[in-house]
């Protein structure tokens, strides 16, 4: 029972960061290996805000989201657009994006190291128990889960009930056809990429409430987010949310029953299963 509730709480928090990557990979079609570093940057920003002001980390999100949005917009404009122009094929673009964002991830780690140093950080917020079905759980985990759920719901509503959201979904389905109905694909992709980065950073802010983190942890989260997105089927946001819960449960199971140091192994086992059984993901369409 413990495992299920902690797993669901963790999965819900993962859902937000995975939705960020889903926007970048599923809509903007950019494989962003620096995604986890953006998440860690959000966590560091929250840490800095909380230790400086002692105000609720939720206020930090209000500042982090627009900031990350602008930064990611700039990254797309400055770093990604030249690669898109240069690429002669989708495959070429994919290789260039992987290399470009891989380099970017090291730059971000370098910047974080320069500002905050290399030690592990954590802070204590809402570190008291809350009782669910008679068992105690960390209130900070519940708070992070609720924050993530609210943001996910907002994002989902925005995608499905506004015109801008509709054009984002159209680009996700087929960029070429989207441009035929006068959607500016480059602008929409930039929007999706920037929004994805902002959502990821918000996910980092929420995760920082109960996790210990350091500058080099980004790659682990990049990997988790990628596995969630692939498991869910790349272009399906419902799949992403369900997959996030699956990963949360799998990780908590391994951490509780085997060893807390093996969380990545749980993610990899899931990844192996997807690759062997259903490479297109839960909700993905099998390509011919």
């Amino acid at each position: 029972m413990d495992i299920i509730i902690i797993g669901l709480l963790l999965g819900g928090t993962y859902a937000l960061m995975a939705m960020g990557l889903q926007l970048q990979y599923g809509v903007a079609r950019i494989m962003n290996l620096a995604n986890g570093e953006m998440l860690i940057a959000g966590a560091f920003g929250t840490f800095w805000f909380f230790t400086a002001s002692q105000a609720s980390p939720f206020y930090a999100i209000i500042g982090i989201v627009p900031f990350a949005f602008v930064v990611n917009w700039a990254i797309y404009r400055i770093l990604i657009v030249p690669l898109v122009r240069r690429a002669r094929s989708q495959g070429q673009l994919e290789v260039d994006c992987i290399l470009g964002t891989f380099g970017l991830s090291f730059i971000l780690v370098g910047i974080l190291l320069a500002i905050f140093g290399g030690q592990y950080l954590s802070y204590s917020y809402l570190a008291r128990p809350i009782f669910i079905l008679g068992e105690p759980y960390g209130l900070n985990r519940v708070a992070a889960f609720l924050g993530s759920a609210a943001l996910c719901a907002g994002l989902y509503g925005w995608l499905h009930h506004t015109r801008a959201g509709l054009s984002l979904r159209a680009v996700s389905v087929n960029p070429a056809a989207a441009s035929l109905v006068s959607i500016n694909v480059v602008r929409t992709s930039a929007l999706a990429f920037a929004l994805g980065g902002a959502v990821t950073a918000a996910g980092g802010a929420l995760l920082s409430m109960f996790l210990t983190f350091d500058a080099s942890l980004g790659v682990v989260f990049t990997l988790k987010a990628l596995i969630i997105v692939i498991l869910g089927g790349v272009s399906d946001i419902r799949g992403t949310i369900i997959a996030a819960f699956i990963l949360g449960l799998a990780e908590t199971t391994v951490a509780t029953l085997v060893d807390p140091g093996l969380t990545l192994a749980a993610a990899y086992v899931l990844f192996m299963i997807i690759l062997l059984v259903r490479p297109e993901g839960l909700f993905g369409r099998r390509s011919s």
């Binding site: 494989m31 992987i98 290399l99 730059i107 780690v109 682990v220 140091g261 990844f271």
Partner: protein, 351 residues
């Protein structure tokens, strides 16, 4: 059945004049490089050792990732495995046997990863390789915890710097020979087609998964052997050091800087980069990650085809210039006054 096999073997070792010449030059360079420890033993030897170390890693990386365009970010995983096999067994077994075991362990991991990821296309492989070093590190740490051994292990054997250098050189030579052999085999041809267009490769009847897995295993085995050779030099082996993501990153940078479409391409990246790295780590020890990332981006954006690409462009341009100059000379009769006199002067000087 026997006849065609013998024929194809004969064809495989039959060399054109140009190839014989390249081989002879390579052999000369090999001998010259082997003599370095006799000349110098201090700083120069340590730089040369670093260059060989990274050449072995970057060239073996390129064997797979160069022709196929499948970027592997997992060098550190295989390197670390090789290192750990030696660290664990050094009290129990002789060192040469451990090198063999390290190669086997690296190959086994590569088979598993390859079979899982290389049957489906492209990007899954990259994602899998991205976290592989971290995964293996977690598993190693856990195993040590379960087995109750210390997290750090000492590898102490009697080996001089010179011996390490020659071992690395021998390994590099083997990598180059195998790379050269693959380049002229059917396997190499298949890989180049896969790199150009995987759909075409499938339709021409190439077993793409098999070709990719074989090459990935070869490439990873060499990374594991490099780790096994490096273990005694580092003498203290620890998970965070052995599986450092930095190493995977450096290897990719160097290979890209040099150029991945020629066997000797990475070498041209390793030499300038090792020197640059010495400079960076000596002067800005706190900012290495940042500077490394920035260098990497510069390479990806400014010289996507590496030093080899730059060289080949320059050669092509020179040839074109020479050709157009030759054409002008031939058509000298049609040129106007000043050009004519210039041409006449040119001819008389060259006559």
């Amino acid at each position: 059945m026997r006849q065609p096999l013998a024929q194809s073997l004969g064809a495989a070792v039959q060399l054109s004049g140009r190839e014989t010449r390249s081989l002879a030059i390579a052999a000369l360079i090999f001998v010259a490089v082997a003599l370095v420890p006799l000349i110098s033993s201090g700083y120069l030897l340590s730089i040369a050792t670093s260059i060989l170390f990274y050449t072995a890693l970057a060239t073996s990386w390129t064997l797979f990732s160069g022709p196929t365009n499948y970027i592997s970010l997992a060098t550190a995983a295989f390197f670390g495995i090789g290192m750990y096999v030696v660290a664990w067994g050094i009290e129990l077994m002789p060192y040469p046997l451990l090198i063999l075991l390290a190669a086997l362990a690296g190959a086994a991991l590569a088979v598993v990863v390859g079979l899982a990821t290389l049957r489906v296309s492209g990007v899954y492989f990259v994602i899998f390789s991205l976290g592989l070093a971290e995964l293996v590190r977690q598993i190693m740490t856990w195993l040590q915890h379960v087995l109750g051994t210390l997290s750090g292990l000492y590898v102490l054997i009697d080996r001089t710097e010179e011996e390490y250098y020659w071992q690395l050189l021998a390994l590099t030579a083997v990598i180059f020979l195998i790379g050269w052999w693959i380049g002229r085999s059917r396997l190499g041809f298949a890989l180049r087609i896969i790199g150009n267009d995987e759909v075409v490769a499938v339709h021409s009847g190439i077993n793409t998964a098999r070709a990719k897995v074989i090459l990935f295993v070869i490439s990873s085995t060499f990374a594991a052997v490099t780790g096994a050779l490096a273990a005694p030099r580092w003498s203290y082996v620890e998970p965070t050091v052995a599986f450092s993501p930095f190493l995977s990153f450096q290897v990719v940078i160097m290979a890209l800087l040099g150029g991945v479409h020629r066997l000797w391409g990475p070498l041209l990246g390793v030499i300038p980069f090792t020197l640059l790295w010495e400079l960076i780590s000596a002067n800005f020890p706190a900012q290495t990650t940042l500077l490394l990332g920035a260098t990497f981006l510069l390479i990806v954006y400014l010289i996507p085809n590496g030093v080899v690409g730059l060289l080949e462009d320059a050669l092509r341009q020179r040839r074109r210039l020479l050709q157009s100059a030759g054409g002008l000379l031939a058509r000298g009769g049609g040129a106007s006054g000043p050009v004519k006199s210039l041409l006449a002067r040119w001819r008389s000087r060259n006559a």
